[in-house]
């Protein structure tokens, strides 16, 4: 059992849990994820580690209430428990002093970008971050991102915070202004990651994206998270989750993400899929 030390709502439908998971906290690195299960009837879902405290033995998980499991997690409170937390899983982000790196987080994707931006910053990189959301209410972790970035751009679809538009807009401006970008890390909805990859592709800027497909075990055993990268099938859980955004077959991934839409409609997030 893994105790939720602190549960708090970051924005409408976006929750943060600080969870006691000492074996994960002692080893985890930026870019890695865990698999959790709420209870005996629960499914196994992957969540990226947003932050960790090795001394206290805790990790931070940030999630949006979108599926059956995350909706039920939204009902858990400080002091409640998760039945299983396994990890850290996946390969850690490659961190060196590359020069100038651009970290882009869209929606809930800001959470996994944060520890990566921090790691880049600590390695001596100049970190330019772009975070975006549909509106100001849904924007998360602005303060944290500002603390690890040399420059921070904010975009919202409706202009209620920062620039009105998409996260790729400031990126395009930077490239047009001749900014020398060593690499881009983009995490967010699949259309956003694909959009970023298309912007950087013609300029040959190395672009990494972090994938979050459907998984069961998270250790390479089931192959449910497979994706085509550069024409080769990879398992996001062990070969990733980060891949070269210019090589990823996003259309295939988006199609695979719809695999259980019929079944998901049967679940109302009220515990009906899961007693």
């Amino acid at each position: 059992m893994y105790k939720i030390i602190k549960a708090e709502e970051l924005s409408a439908g976006v929750q943060s849990f600080i969870v006691e998971a000492p074996l994960v906290a002692r080893k985890c690195q930026a870019g890695q994820f865990i698999i959790l299960r709420i209870d005996e009837a629960g499914e196994r879902i992957p969540l990226t580690i947003a932050d960790y405290d090795r001394e206290k033995g805790t990790i931070q998980l940030i999630f949006q209430e979108v599926g059956d499991t995350t909706k039920q997690m939204g009902k858990l409170k400080t002091g409640d428990y998760l039945l299983d937390v396994a990890g850290p899983l996946g390969k850690a982000t490659e961190v060196e002093n590359f020069g100038t790196v651009v970290c882009i987080g869209g929606g809930i994707g800001v959470a996994p970008v944060y520890p990566i931006a921090r790691a880049y910053k600590n390695a001596g990189n100049r970190v330019i971050s772009i975070i975006g959301a549909r509106n100001a209410d849904l924007l998360i972790m602005e303060k944290e991102m500002r603390s690890v970035s040399d420059e921070l751009f904010i975009t919202t679809d409706d202009g209620s915070a920062g620039h009105k538009g998409l996260v790729v807009d400031p990126l395009k401006d930077m490239i047009a202004a001749g900014e020398k970008i060593a690499r881009v890390m983009a995490i967010g909805p699949m259309v956003m990651m694909r959009g970023v990859a298309e912007v950087t592709r013609p300029h040959g800027i190395h672009t990494l994206v972090s994938l979050n497909p459907i998984m069961v075990d998270g250790t390479g055993m089931c192959g449910g998270c497979r994706c085509s990268v550069g024409g080769e099938t990879k398992f996001a859980c062990v070969d990733g989750p980060e891949f070269d955004g210019h090589q990823v077959d996003f259309n295939g991934l988006m199609s695979r993400a719809r695999m259980y839409h019929t079944q998901e409609r049967q679940c109302k997030g009220d515990g009906s899929c899961h007693k």
């Binding site: 390479g220 192959g223 497979r226």
Partner: protein
């Protein structure tokens, strides 16, 4: 001949659920002997002094001795004889390929059928369980060493049990949320009820084995950390064959294509057959093709039927004679209505405009000269392509070793397939590190993994005691 009566040339039949009923439920297919039938079957044993059957058993159970006790009606004594050799008799009585092992060498098999050794083992084990979990004698209190066992499948459970009984402090690290390995995620409920596996694991816990779930070695800990920082005298790696192979054919990433590992894990471990009562779904079409001819393929096909598929095909490139699955599994699948599409090889999965499977394009095969495996090599018949109309495809063509541990354990050699190199006693090339089961041999059987575990346990004991005296 005994008492002037001619003994039956055939095994006593074991009652089974009717094929038409069982193809719609997940309850166990074979129902086991009752006491009278068990005694009668035991009476067929000739009690050969040289006991050829034992030589066929990877853990060398004293088969004539336990059968004698069954014949005499002392099932408790029979159970304690088996348990001296085998930690998981209720499991082995169900899933061992006895026809290739003990029963293959049975003298009764020369004229007629061999003694039903597997059925008797199952009877004795189930009798001893009696619907409950019996507690073994307590292990020694003074601990003579500390050993980490990685993986929770048959090889690891055997090592953990044997060493705990000898007086070792054992920690078993399991990557999933429950120990049992392939016994939990792979073999279906209708062949091996999960309560039996859970009982065996409870027995280990009673012996003092600490089971740490959600611990992915190579990630949560490395092998070096276990030895250098966590104070383990030795490490056993029994992580099995967990990496699914795919065909590398076009369309394999379409929605509706599963590896057998994923398909079976969803159903067995995550209980997707109870969805939406459980939260893990599984997608099953009306028509399902399972690619492969082994036990995992049979398990997948029979599972698909139970999930409600109407037509389930086994697509296998050779003929029935070359199928690696146990004859009994093939027979059961056949009785339940699985359609065998033999001498057929898939060439691509055909998708619809939304990215879903709508067919499996196959080519017909014919058998040529024997290949390296001694089986006749299948060759494509020109212009014989056809499409099977299916909505689900399960790829069950085998599994390889998961590289997580090998990649993070310097000094431990692997072969070209990625399997850990270990000698007959389970010693790897790294001091203090032992390995056994599928991670060494490649995908094989539960009992072979247990046999490897037995040898490794003895070898670990010798190593640790030698080191402590040194």
């Amino acid at each position: 001949m005994q008492g002037g009566r001619i003994m039956s040339q055939v095994k006593h039949k074991m009652p089974e659920q009717d094929a038409q009923v069982r193809r719609h439920n997940f309850n166990e297919v074979a129902l086991g002997y009752d006491a009278e039938t068990a005694k009668a079957e035991a009476a067929r044993c000739l009690q050969c002094k040289h006991a050829p059957c034992r030589k066929g058993c990877p853990v060398e159970i004293d088969i004539p001795a336990f059968i004698q006790q069954v014949k005499d009606g002392d099932f408790v004594a029979a159970n304690s004889i088996i348990r001296d050799y085998n930690n998981l008799p209720a499991v082995c009585g169900r899933v061992c390929p006895q026809e290739d092992q003990c029963e293959k060498l049975c003298i009764r098999g020369i004229k007629g059928e061999p003694v039903g050794i597997g059925r008797l083992e199952r009877f004795v084990a189930d009798f001893s369980l009696g619907g409950t979990c019996p507690l073994p004698p307590p292990p020694p209190e003074v601990k003579i060493g500390k050993v980490a066992v990685i993986g929770g499948g048959p090889a690891s459970l055997t090592v953990a049990g044997d060493l705990a009984r000898m007086g070792y402090q054992i920690t078993l690290f399991e990557a999933l949320h429950t120990a049992g390995g392939v016994l939990m995620y792979g073999i279906p409920e209708f062949r091996l009820p999960k309560d039996i596996v859970k009982c065996e694991i409870e027995t280990l816990k009673y012996l003092g084995v600490e089971v740490v779930v959600n611990a992915v070695i190579g990630k949560t800990f490395t092998v070096d950390e276990l030895m250098q920082e966590e104070g383990y005298d030795a490490v056993f790696i029994g992580t099995g064959a967990g990496l699914p192979h795919f065909m590398k054919m076009p369309g394999e990433n379409l929605n509706g294509v599963y590896s057998a590992n994923e398909f079976l894990t969803r159903v067995n471990l995550m209980k997707a057959y109870k969805f939406p009562e459980t939260a893990t779904p599984v997608q099953i079409g009306r028509n399902v093709a399972v690619v492969g001819g082994g036990n995992v393929a049979m398990d997948s096909a029979r599972t698909a039927l139970r999930l409600g598929a109407e037509n389930v095909y086994i697509v296998y490139r050779r003929s029935r004679d070359e199928m690696p699955a146990r004859a009994e599994e093939v027979e059961h699948a056949h009785e339940e209505g699985v359609i065998f599409q033999l001498l057929t090889n898939p060439v691509q999965v055909v998708g619809d405009e939304n990215g879903w499977v709508k067919g499996l394009e196959c080519v017909q095969m014919e058998l040529g000269e024997p290949d390296a495996s001694g089986r006749r090599r299948p060759m494509e018949k020109p212009d014989s392509n056809f499409v099977l109309d299916v909505e689900t495809v399960v790829i069950a063509i085998g599994q390889g070793p998961n590289p997580l541990i090998q990649d993070t354990t310097p000094g431990m050699d692997t072969n070209k397939h990625g399997n850990i190199v270990a000698d007959d006693d389970g010693k790897t090339t790294k001091e203090g590190v032992f390995a056994g089961g599928d991670i060494v041999t490649g995908a094989a059987t539960v009992i072979l993994a247990m046999g490897a575990g037995k040898k490794a346990a003895a070898s670990i004991h010798a190593y640790v005691q030698h080191k402590k005296q040194g």
